[in-house]
Symmetry: C2
Subunit: 377 residues, 2 copies
């Protein structure tokens, strides 16, 4: 218990957040977050929750009543979706083409699912024919889990055909939309998604700490009909529903100030308009892509997200040195490669408030200078 | 998807938080929380984590390396402690004398524990002889869980003798310190606590959203020796340790701004000094107790916490009306009774920044006026 060094208030350095999240947070959201805390059963707070739910429904493009923010980061959202939908022994198909599909498999196994994995090479997407074949081989599939926007590879997964196959087989579709919600097209109702989760620190440009989730009425019915309790008390949707619903039964103390931040972030989305926001993400992605390709960089995924750009580290370039210099000399954070892409990939996020032309311009100019230095090295 | 009402920024009302949590948050903590978000792998953020861990160790009065903040509210801390220590089929004794012991039983059952419950009437504490008898009856007890500060009843549970019994039986002691950490004496090392969890929104006067936890070296050894994976991926301490440790392996995106707030709250504790802070809580509790008893109110627990005061609603007084008038006319929040105390108890928290003389004075004066009105009703 070393009490020698007295602590001092933390002053974060100035950063341009172009990594895989968190993204830049708007001053309005920061300001909202710093407003005085009130009680989680205060009538004014309950009003805030109701309005946030309405805004989340617009964002997810759904009428699902069970659309809430789970009190944890995106991975808690993943776990909430899996442990509520899965009972021990249930068959679940998990599509794995990067870190987050792999994580979903791990979470499903820990929930007692009998997991069948469908794999695609990192950077590629899952082919609907793989899904069709799996649903052919196993007649007891309860849930298929898939990642819409794979943050580790930048791959953009089409979902509509897969959704049709999953529903034809009588199964439930669980979708990871952590890096797409609020930045790319995502249609929970129109695409027939039964459970969808995201995080606040990506395209919503809110600090990390909440996980927006949405469950279809059909999924809720399945959850209410479980014969075993949900293994997690904290993430049990049937209990959370009683707090978010009109009963207002105390479950756990909601992260009040994070909820202020999310509400303000959702307000900003509503002000901009979801379609305009998605178009902005597309436009800045194109600007970045042209610039990166001009610098000789190559995109990894065959079908790239607009929110996250994964490119190969050029031969002869020191991955870590470039990232360190970007951070130290320009205040720019980008992401390193994960897993098999370690040392091989850069992941450049243009999400939410970070998806802006001036950031693209600054980043390309900075990278150009550093790559010239690398070549001279 | 009703898009008619345009959202507006949320402006919380002015409140004096004298409920069971959240407590008033210092402007310095709010300011820290609103500072710009940086990345969860940023060297500056990692430095903040290291310093926060050191401050948490001082607060828990422990040298435990595995002392961290779990990314969820206090109940996530409870679940983290239980699911890491328990493997399916393990015998766990859970002491229940209020809501939170009951919750621990529920969490333990969902983790597959064979639970033995020791009960005491609400408001009373668990007698060490009950513990001794249970440990006599069952020779396979792995973990005993108990609530140090029962927020639903205001009862203050002594732990030292129980700890000795638990360790003599070769079991592990798991303690809920949600409402005591940072406000009352709590000695993780000296009392031999193996796993301890708390929340940020009580005596630390930080917004809710993080759960400080501490595991003894012995508990960590047990967790590392598990034969089954921890059922929760999100709360798996072995994975969290690799992010908090020198390896810095990415697990999930930490709630950055909540960590700023916690760091600032811990800084405030260090500035005040833990002993002085505990003395302040004792002093304001005494002031309140004298005032409440002067008003004819009766404390429920035989041994009261200094952080949370549970009193009986006097006969002929309308519980809900008084609480509503306190909120609407004075901006004061107090807590209602839970479970069997519904409509029967008021819970008045004096925690962290809310434990101040002027709040005690205001509350007693306001309550006195409202009780006079009730009697005239």
């Amino acid at each position: 218990m070393n009490e020698s060094r007295p602590p001092v208030s933390f002053q974060p350095p100035s950063r341009v957040l172009l990594g895989p999240g968190p993204s830049d947070v708007s001053p309005r959201v920061l300001q909202a977050m710093g407003r005085p805390t009130i009680g989680h059963l205060d009538p004014e707070y309950l009003r805030l929750m109701d309005e946030s739910r309405r805004l989340l429904q617009q964002l997810f493009r759904t009428e699902n009543e069970m659309t809430i923010a789970v009190s944890g980061t995106g991975s808690a959202g993943m776990e909430a979706c899996v442990v509520n939908l899965i009972e021990p022994g249930d068959r679940m198909v998990v599509c794995v083409n990067g870190v987050f599909g792999g994580r979903m498999k791990e979470v499903a196994e820990r929930a007692g699912a009998r997991v069948v994995t469908l794999e695609a090479p990192w950077g590629e997407t899952i082919d609907p024919q793989q899904v069709a074949a799996a649903l052919e081989s196993y007649d007891d599939v309860k849930v298929l889990g898939i990642v819409h926007a794979e943050t580790s590879t930048g791959a953009h997964q089409p979902l509509e055909e897969i959704s049709r196959l999953v529903h034809d087989a009588g199964a439930f579709l669980l979708v990871d939309a952590v890096t797409s919600l609020g930045g790319m097209e995502l249609e929970v109702d129109a695409w027939g998604i039964d459970a969808c989760y995201s995080g606040t620190q990506k395209c919503l440009s809110c600090p990390p700490g909440l996980a927006p989730v949405s469950f279809s009425a059909r999924a809720v019915e399945r959850i209410l009909g479980r014969t075993t309790p949900v293994q997690s008390w904290y993430l049990d949707v049937t209990l959370l529903a009683r707090y978010w619903g009109s009963e207002r039964v105390y479950h756990h103390t909601a992260p009040i100030n994070m909820s202020y931040a999310l509400h303000e972030a959702l307000t900003l989305v509503a002000e901009e308009g979801l379609a305009a926001r998605i178009a902005r993400h597309t436009e800045n992605h194109r600007r970045l892509r042209v610039g990166l390709e001009d610098l000789g960089l190559e995109y990894i995924p065959s079908r790239s997200l607009t929110t996250l750009n994964a490119v190969r580290v050029p031969d002869g370039v020191d991955d870590a040195r470039v990232r360190r210099r970007l951070l130290e000399e320009f205040g720019i954070e980008i992401g390193a490669g994960l897993g098999p892409f370690r040392g091989q990939a850069w992941r450049i996020g243009l999400m939410g408030a970070s998806s802006r032309r001036s950031h693209v311009t600054l980043f390309l100019a900075a990278l150009s200078q550093l790559l010239a230095d690398e070549r001279a090295h």
